[in-house]
């Protein structure tokens, strides 16, 4: 059965959609899997047909763009109502992208320049258009500040490969899973170790009791613990309580225990092997990206993070406890690489020369841009693009994939990176050399940065 999908464009350029279409012949196997119920640039369904759909009727809704107009805000809300999963597709929907730079100005300044001041205008008394147009929001608003977003696919645009991977993954999430999958049984039910000697009895964490069956070769049959890759079962195995007891009794994780829990959560609830987008349902990713988004609660005297990924009490408590332990575990490392990890240039450890503007000279292809004096946001930018700009175009990274996991403000992080790279230089000199820090360091993330948006110059009385 094809999956119902909708594509909504808020204020944006359609580049993310174009990046999807750039798959060209690669689209042919995917198109039959999709029932496209809304995509104005491609199919002829009108807005009222989207409004008329039952709530939650559409499985995956892709949103490109930010809220510049009131119509954008309303359309984001409409999509949330109609779609089970909302994907923020691209830098605009994730962080605001370059449109966020408008937040450096008042709405009135923007309107004045466009509708009253530009040089070709000939009207005597030009005004902001108001008829059959939606009106503007005071500033650029991120989609995630209007509605709950389930998946973030960053990039301006995300590469074709990234988008296809996200689509393919989402199709497996909503699909039936492999034919062998049986959610009404657990790995324990057919485990050969149950009689010979359960791994739990030997003190090794094994998650078979929580896991559905259907894998070709069960790991415990080879004396290896089950890490849950066949996802949650609805019928707990015999050893579920014993496993819970073991995890509940942990106060401080040993490195082995931490690695085990992390591996389990990754396979059990995670977006395994696809790390180029942020899926909030992957609680490990969420722990890395937004640790403060979890509430802590007490269950039977134990502190756990308040999560309910499955709706099954025992599983949710085990996961909550595991996340609680990992949250403060110094060994918890969520692999979030930066663009540098895919850059073919020789790495810099300092910036020995004066900072250059990009029109100056021509950088060589073999050396790090920063080392050559050019501003490059690679060190503070989420990997996923394959470092196209430095590798293929001899151009520095502009930061379009946004900050890596755990970094709140890409611009602030870059300033601190630059500070440590330029440690031997005078701070005032560096500050003088950079005339437009917001435009250079927060080009794609200003709307979601700590800078936010311009308030009135005169703050009195506010």
């Amino acid at each position: 059965m094809p999956v119902k999908v909708a594509f909504m464009q808020l204020s944006s350029c359609w580049g993310c959609h174009q990046s999807l279409l750039n798959a060209h012949l690669g689209l042919l196997p995917i198109l039959p899997e999709l029932e496209i119920v809304y995509w104005p640039a491609v199919v002829d369904f009108k807005h009222d047909s989207l409004e008329a759909r039952p709530d939650g009727d559409i499985v995956v809704g892709f949103i490109e763009g930010v809220a510049r107009t009131k119509e954008d805000t309303a359309n984001a809300k409409l999509m949330r109502k109609k779609c089970a999963i909302i994907v923020a597709l691209g830098a605009c929907a994730c962080y605001g992208s370059v449109k966020g730079l408008a937040n450096l100005f008042d709405k009135e300044e923007l309107i004045k320049r466009k509708f009253m001041e530009t040089e070709a205008i000939t009207d005597d008394n030009p005004k902001e258009p108001t008829e059959h147009v939606p009106g503007f929001e005071d500033h650029i608003i991120n989609v995630k500040d209007i509605i709950d977003v389930d998946v973030f696919v960053p990039g301006c645009p995300p590469t074709t490969e990234n988008i296809l991977a996200a689509v393919a993954y989402l199709l497996t999430v909503v699909g039936e899973g492999p034919a062998s999958l049986n959610k009404n049984a657990s790995v324990c039910d057919s485990c050969s170790l149950l009689k010979k000697g359960c791994l739990l009895d030997k003190g090794t964490l094994c998650y078979g009791a929580l896991t559905a069956v259907g894998c070709e070769e069960m790991c415990p049959n080879n004396d290896e613990p089950c890490f849950g890759c066949f996802k949650p079962t609805t019928k707990m195995g015999a050893k579920a309580d014993q496993l819970k007891g073991m995890i509940d009794s942990i106060d401080v994780l040993t490195p082995e225990q931490g690695a085990s829990l992390q591996h389990f959560l990754d396979l059990y609830l995670g977006v395994s092997n696809i790390t180029n987008f942020y899926f909030r349902g992957d609680l490990l990713q969420r722990l890395a990206y937004e640790p403060e988004s979890f509430a802590v609660k007490e269950v039977d005297g134990k502190m756990v993070l308040d999560v309910a990924p499955t709706g099954t009490k025992i599983i949710d408590e085990i996961v909550g406890k595991a996340l609680f332990l990992l949250k403060d575990d110094p060994n918890f490392k969520f692999s979030s690489k930066t663009v540098c990890s895919h850059c073919e240039r020789e790495v810099a450890d300092k910036v020995p020369v004066d900072l250059k503007r990009d029109y100056e000279g021509l950088p060589t292809m073999d050396k790090c841009f920063l080392e050559q004096g050019y501003i490059c946001l690679g060190p503070v930018t989420q990997a996923g693009c394959g470092a196209i700009c430095p590798n293929k175009a001899n151009a520095p990274c502009l930061g379009c994939y946004g900050p890596p996991a755990g970094v709140k403000d890409q611009g602030a992080k870059f300033i601190s990176t630059l500070g440590s790279l330029c440690a031997e230089k005078d701070v005032g000199e560096i500050m003088n050399a950079i005339k437009d820090p917001a435009g250079l360091f927060n080009r794609f993330t200003l709307a979601s940065s700590t800078l936010g948006y311009k308030r009135h110059d005169n703050m009195e009385g506010e």
């Binding site: 204020s11 350029c13 359609w14 580049g15 993310c16 959609h17 174009q18 990046s19 279409l21 750039n22 060209h24 012949l25 689209l27 198109l31 496209i36 104005p40 640039a41 491609v42 199919v43 002829d44 009108k46 009222d48 107009t69 119509e71 370059v98 449109k99 408008a102 450096l104 100005f105 300044e109 923007l110 320049r113 466009k114 509708f115 009253m116 530009t118 070709a120 205008i121 005004k127 258009p129 008829e131 059959h132 147009v133 939606p134 645009p157 503007r357 990009d358 029109y359 100056e360 000279g361 021509l362 950088p363 700009c389 175009a393 001899n394 151009a395 379009c400 005339k435 437009d436 250079l440």
Partner: protein
């Protein structure tokens, strides 16, 4: 009772548009509005940015045509700072512009326009789309996808990325093509030329099938705004050419664009209404984009395209006002694009690494850059301060040049449809896809 017809949104275009048509008791069309409901204020928020970084911001104006939005501001800053670029850079830019022209025109013809013709205008709206066309005509679909893929991959090879390229820099290009990459494109260029010829055949068959529609619906005399280089069709470099409704051609140095172009702020659209200033508004409303380019050109730049242009002119005249001839003009431009690509790929300058001048210094002043984007002439005016920071910018973007012309055409067609019942007598062919 005034009857109001609302189309929300207008589909199979990129962007946000709606349509409001008011029809009075007497059956007369009172008003037609083409409402563009989004704008993002790029002209304001590029203020304060480094001038050389504007070409890395403005491609986000359009994901279908980011190449011209990358190249044109680069030209404008070079104009402001008085920078001359090396010949290899000039040719690389020509090549990427034509690669974009090729993929965008093919996308427009097959994905946006063809469903109307192949399924017929009366087909079920739920099926009238490119997905269905690919399903029903897999060979044509695969060919169209291969053509778009070629253009987009060539854009990516030169620009780093096809969507939001990064390789143009004030002073030239960051990098020339690698020889092995160039060779991959050369290997399939003949196949692409064949595909283009097949596309011409399909387009001419559509022209024959729908000639009654082309010749009778939406034939609207307007001015045209295009670009030529000494009268020859050129999408990278040239000057403004205005064509009057009776076919007279008037040339302007593009630096003097304010002499030719006026802008009216309508009350019902965020995209503004452009017009030919000396003729006044609304008399001077013009159209841009491929038909305007074809009407402006004395001749095409390449032989096959020029032959195709002559063929069109023999059939519908030297300055046709037929709105449906836009599709025809687009095909002629597609032919030129692939011919230019074929020539440039064989040019050794394309792989010459000497593609960036070192002689670049910011200078205070105003600079103008102009190119032809796939949906109209694109003009950037950038004011730099002495340190190369943008003080002010004026962006006259491609589609915006067409808004007033589209609304004028819609009014004409609405009258034909609702007052003259013109559709009833039209000869329509059997749809190719039933």
């Amino acid at each position: 009772m005034v009857k109001e017809i609302v189309v929300e949104p207008v589909t199979r275009l990129e962007g946000h548009g709606g349509l409001h048509i008011k029809i009075g008791d007497d059956g007369k069309v009172q008003d037609v509005q083409f409402n563009i409901t989004s704008t993002r204020f790029f002209e304001k928020f590029v203020e304060g940015r480094y001038c050389e970084h504007i070409p890395r911001i403005t491609p986000r104006i359009c994901g279908i045509c980011p190449i011209p939005h990358h190249i044109t501001p680069t030209k404008a800053v070079e104009d402001a700072w008085g920078v001359q670029i090396p010949t290899p850079a000039y040719k690389l830019r020509q090549l990427i512009m034509n690669a974009k022209q090729y993929s965008s025109h093919v996308l427009h013809f097959y994905a946006l326009a063809a469903p109307d013709f192949l399924l017929g205008p009366m087909a079920d709206p739920a099926l009238r789309n490119v997905v269905y066309v690919i399903n029903k005509m897999p060979d044509v679909g695969a060919m169209a996808l291969k053509m778009m893929d070629f253009g987009q991959k060539l854009c990516a090879a030169i620009g780093g990325k096809s969507v939001h390229p990064i390789s143009a820099i004030v002073g030239g290009m960051k990098k020339s093509l690698d020889e092995d990459v160039r060779d991959k494109f050369l290997k399939v260029i003949d196949e692409q030329i064949e595909f283009t010829k097949k596309t011409v055949d399909i387009a001419l068959k559509v022209v024959d099938d729908y000639f009654d529609v082309i010749a009778n619906v939406g034939v609207v005399p307007t001015y045209y705004f295009g670009m030529t280089k000494n009268g020859v069709h050129d999408i990278y470099d040239g000057d403004i050419r205005i064509v009057t409704p009776d076919g007279q051609k008037i040339d302007y140095d593009y630096h003097n664009y304010l002499e030719a172009l006026g802008e009216h702020i309508p009350d019902h659209s965020y995209a503004t209404h452009m017009y030919y200033k000396p003729a006044g508004y609304p008399e001077g409303i013009y159209r841009a984009n491929c038909l305007a380019m074809i009407n402006a050109a004395d001749k095409m730049a390449t032989p096959l395209a020029d032959q195709a242009l002559k063929q069109m002119r023999e059939r519908i005249g030297d300055c046709p006002h037929h709105t449906f001839a836009y599709h025809w003009a687009r095909i002629i431009e597609t032919v030129e694009a692939i011919e230019v690509i074929a020539t440039l790929l064989k040019d050794p300058d394309i792989v010459n690494p000497d593609c960036k001048t070192l002689d670049v210094e910011p200078k205070e002043g105003s600079g103008v850059g102009m190119t032809e984007a796939p949906r109209g002439t694109l003009l950037y005016n950038i004011w730099s301060d002495s340190q190369g920071i943008c003080k002010k910018a004026n962006l006259l973007v491609a589609t915006n040049h067409n808004i007033a012309g589209i609304e004028k055409t819609l009014m004409h067609v609405a009258k034909q449809v609702f007052e003259d019942k013109a559709l009833e007598g039209l000869k329509l062919p059997d749809p190719w896809i039933k």
